[in-house]
Amino acid sequence: MNAPFYEYGFFGDNFSLVVALITGIGFGFFLERAGFGSGRKLAAQFYLTDMTVFKVMFTAIVTAMLGLFWLSWLGLVDYALVSVPPTYLVPQLVGGIIFGTGFVMGGYCPGTSCVASSTGKLDGGVNLVGMIAGILLFGEAFSLLESFYNSSSMGAFTLPQVLGLSEGLTMFLIVVSAVGGFMAAERIEARYRNGSDNPIA
């Protein structure tokens, strides 16, 4: 098997849009299944009453991370052809701080605001409009932000490089932290949980 299929030219750009649509349907489906069409459920993460955001996100990260590692170890996927988002350390730190503020104020992140909108949450729709306004604002202010936006560029820079560990050991540490995090999340929920996991309430 030669994967990634697109990178090996098994299909072209037109068909890739069909793949995009199917991928998105799967993405949106599982986001809604998790309860991420509800702003109250997402925000509850930050009041310790419902740790679903943490659990879903880290389960997804670990699943994809290990899946890709094993497929590449079996020689089925060329890991080098999967594009790693480049690191721009300081803009990503500051971007994360602004984004985190927006997340708990708005109640959604961009993907979940789409799911909220398509399941009838009016605040999700307003949040989407705000996000579009934010992107436009950024675009209009880009000449002022450009040098900061491109600062601390480090290319495809990964945790194994920082830690000086092998990929396998780094992933093992992430899995151990995730499992520890899940156990802590269950305990926190047992203590603070209210009815926010109930879609009717």
Partner: protein, 188 residues
């Protein structure tokens, strides 16, 4: 036979349009589902998921329609306006259309599609809408500065062990916990 068909029809009806909302999935199960979608995207496309990129394409296209000159002279908009294809014939644009469909499909099957406003008991609807809008602006600006959001940066880059993505994840969570205290009237 006729009787059977009616039964199947009834079952389909309750499945598709069940009035009482069903509980959400176990978070670990939903997380594995999401992880498999992300993994499939790596394997098939060699890239991960995204969300804000789609809206940036749409915004750039909109700016181009209003003022082609303004869009062309901006290095930001023009990077989302390829000349070889239509700017909206973009992978993330089609993916996000899928997200809307997939979310609606799941919500419909579980009886969770309902016109409502998500908020705590201590805030008015207009108040909540203001928060949703301002929060959206911050999300838009933050995601552009970070070159991605929870999908393109946290999930996609997180699973590929990108340092910038993990810095983004930590910054988002820590900040949200701090700010949560100041906006508690909205949710609790």
């Amino acid at each position: 036979m006729l009787n059977n068909e009616c039964r199947i029809g009834d079952i389909l009806k309750t499945l598709l349009f069940s009035k009482s909302p069903q509980p959400y999935w176990n978070p670990y199960l939903a997380g594995i589902g999401l992880g498999i979608v992300l993994l499939a995207s790596y394997v098939v496309m060699g890239r991960g998921l995204g969300a804000t990129g789609a809206f940036t394409s749409a915004v750039s296209y909109g700016v181009q329609q209003i003022s082609p000159e303004h869009a062309a002279t901006s290095p930001f908009y023009s990077s989302y306006l390829p000349t070889t294809r239509h700017p909206l014939a973009d992978w993330l644009v089609f993916e996000i259309i899928g997200v809307v469909i997939g979310g609606f499909l799941s919500g419909t099957l579980a009886g969770r599609v309902k016109k409502t406003v998500e908020k705590g008991p201590r805030i008015t609807v207009p108040g909540r809408m203001l928060y949703a809008f301002v929060g959206g602006i911050a999300m838009g600006v933050g995601s552009r500065l970070a070159r991605g959001c929870t999908s393109g940066q946290a999930l996609t880059g997180g699973a590929l062990l990108s340092v910038g993505s993990w810095v983004f994840i930590l910054a988002v969570f820590l900040t949200a916990y701090v700010i949560a205290y100041f906006v508690r009237k909205q949710w609790t």
